[in-house]
Assembly symmetry: C2
Homo-oligomer: 462 residues x 2
Amino acid sequence: MLETKLISQLQKIAGKEAVLTSKEDLTTYSYDGTTTWAHMPDVVVLPTTTEQVSQILKLANENGIPVTPRGAGTNVSGGSIPIKGGIVLCTAKMNKILDINKTNLTATIEPGVVLQDFNMALAKQGLFYPPDPVSFFGCTLGGNVAENSAGPYCVKYGVTKHYLLGLEVVLANGYVMKLGGVTVKNRTGYELIMLFTGSEGTLGVITKITVKLLPMPPARKTMIAVFDDMEVAGQAVSDIMASGVVPAKIEFVDNFVIRRVEEMTPMGLPVEANALLILETDGSPAAVEADAQQIVDILKKSGAKDVKVAKDANEAAMYWKARSAGFAAVFGAAHTVMAEDVAVPRDKLAEFIRRLGEISKKSGFFIQFLGHAGDGNLHPSIFTDIRDKEQFARAQETMAEIFRAAMELGGVLSGEHGIGLEKQRFLKEAMDPVAIDIMKKIKGVLDPNNILNPGKIWEEGA
Amino acid sequence: MLETKLISQLQKIAGKEAVLTSKEDLTTYSYDGTTTWAHMPDVVVLPTTTEQVSQILKLANENGIPVTPRGAGTNVSGGSIPIKGGIVLCTAKMNKILDINKTNLTATIEPGVVLQDFNMALAKQGLFYPPDPVSFFGCTLGGNVAENSAGPYCVKYGVTKHYLLGLEVVLANGYVMKLGGVTVKNRTGYELIMLFTGSEGTLGVITKITVKLLPMPPARKTMIAVFDDMEVAGQAVSDIMASGVVPAKIEFVDNFVIRRVEEMTPMGLPVEANALLILETDGSPAAVEADAQQIVDILKKSGAKDVKVAKDANEAAMYWKARSAGFAAVFGAAHTVMAEDVAVPRDKLAEFIRRLGEISKKSGFFIQFLGHAGDGNLHPSIFTDIRDKEQFARAQETMAEIFRAAMELGGVLSGEHGIGLEKQRFLKEAMDPVAIDIMKKIKGVLDPNNILNPGKIWEEGA
């Protein structure tokens, strides 16, 4: 528990209504999109200005109070859970779009801007910001930077880090640091912006973000391909990537998702299919037409049972809704959903899918999966119940096997969700020990009192 | 001077023929593409393996000997000049292309691979690696990573850092650290790859690089636009960027370059023109056709006196040769060429060009410039002579004014060349002082004895 004096100091900084202490409020901020972890904070503060963030951090730093930065809490690796208690610093109310510049093709936003609100504002001006985590309806741009978020569009367009030009970051001691600017090229010193990107709130609190924009592609086309065999679908993705065409998105959903989505909202998905690829191509109308034809040809040649091109935007939207709903369907399927986030080389996708089948058979756990197949980034999930200790332990071991199978194929522990709490016990297997040591030392440089999101990424004392 | 014992230890590590000590050899490695600085090393070593690099660094670290990593020495900010003497560690002989994977769309190369050799190997397989510094005929990929190089293609495709997936880096103490891998997405811990990218050889020696590739665009088209007025050309660039089309390249050359190129190799360039834009669009044949038409229309509407679309690949190659030759023409134009590398927001290009005119008038120096207009990244040059102290001091002051004019417009000190020696006296004006302090502390973490490229980026004792 924090002293009453500190609570009243926080109230003085951010205003009474911005400081939450009731049990109900604290519970709301005790968990995030991850289902295996929760921890109560002592207090939640919702600042509205950079100056307030600076004063909150100064106070916390002087008193050694843990601070967990948080956007919308859509994180799925436990990064925004206040595992050490203390202050949850939620930037959701710093939600102004400060500038959209159509000629410079840049925008500056506050961290609490919801991605979808930003996308809508950009669309009005014919502009496009590609990184599109499936949580786009809720997630905030500050969280996107802290997690270096990605999504379906990243096959063609890259991830959040590829779009960052400038940051304002408040350091642990309250110093407001400005990095980068509004130019698309900048070679002034080390890439410090990249250091904060994906640092999961452990190095600073992001208070302003400048991103690079693109013109909205004038045309898009969505296709779906139905497969009897998941491995064949995986191979089809490799075939497309090797063919010279670059789809904007290549998403994979399995039979579990197809059935669940169809149960929730019947939309005529092929419930017997073992795998569905949902693809999009974008660009000029002529290019889209040609690319779509090429993709359809490859899909058929690669063994798709059925290939459909969405006849209009409504039909396309329906397929993408199925993909988004898949995410919800998976996370609502059990008390505890352990979702992996491995990425494998794109030419190893079919092999990895085969390995998942073997692991499922051996462990007895059904392994559901969907994901960003075009990036080799799959989200295999195991449905379990954390309250059943024996089963949960077996689920954890099975998850470890999945991760090790990915690593053996040249893959990585996390493609886009980050390490947080969920994957930190695997970090030593996934990363050079000296690199982990360097991370810790950099953390020590930027946050010597270890107040910023302590207990994340690496295991303590490890 | 290094002790004879150390020289023989280096010979034992890398072989006798890989250790250069003659005055002629040392002179060759005493300068780089920058014309204002030079310093003799004590010895040059050309290792061929990571293990040798590791042993060289271990030896240097234990004996406190400065090590300046070097690729081809095409650097234009002094980054590869051994300003403290000691060892030049040249990676030019580590020049194997280790893997090109067409399905995963990745390649792994050693640092000494020349960019053009890499491009040729990729082209055979229909693959494309976009970052294209104008020094591509000589520069090496290790240098490209250390400098986070960019070039004309970066308007559409981004810079070196956008393509890096994995690095092998030898740390100052000789430890061989592996970062990242061959997946296009990776969210395992901090972005340490980005920390080494653009660190100008001050944090480690890069010994292996894995990059993301793209399929080679099936079609390209080159256009040139002739302008009477440089500001109008600058505005035309802004107009194109705001129009929704994304050219692959938009390069700017001024009358000085047009005349010099025409003198060297007559190719029918318009010698009376005050500015020439050279543009390229790429993609599917249909998209290229449509984009080229849109660009031509905008150029005409924006006040171009003449617009030409290259009728074939030969004519296109001629225009791009003129652009490359421009670089050489500028650097050969005087004893000392001070080349700025500022970048301004793309909507401030015309305004910046106007300011350059004013600075030229006031200072009496002719200011030549060319550059990557689509990125707002210009290279204004002043022709001077470092041996004439009074004139050189005035040139330096004029350069400072150019930099400050860019900063006032929201621009940055360096768009792509880095800080090195050339721009370090401006660093304090260009970067948050706390950010500079963080860079120094990170340097302290990774290179506690300060052996790696000491004396670069920030001024010592400053």
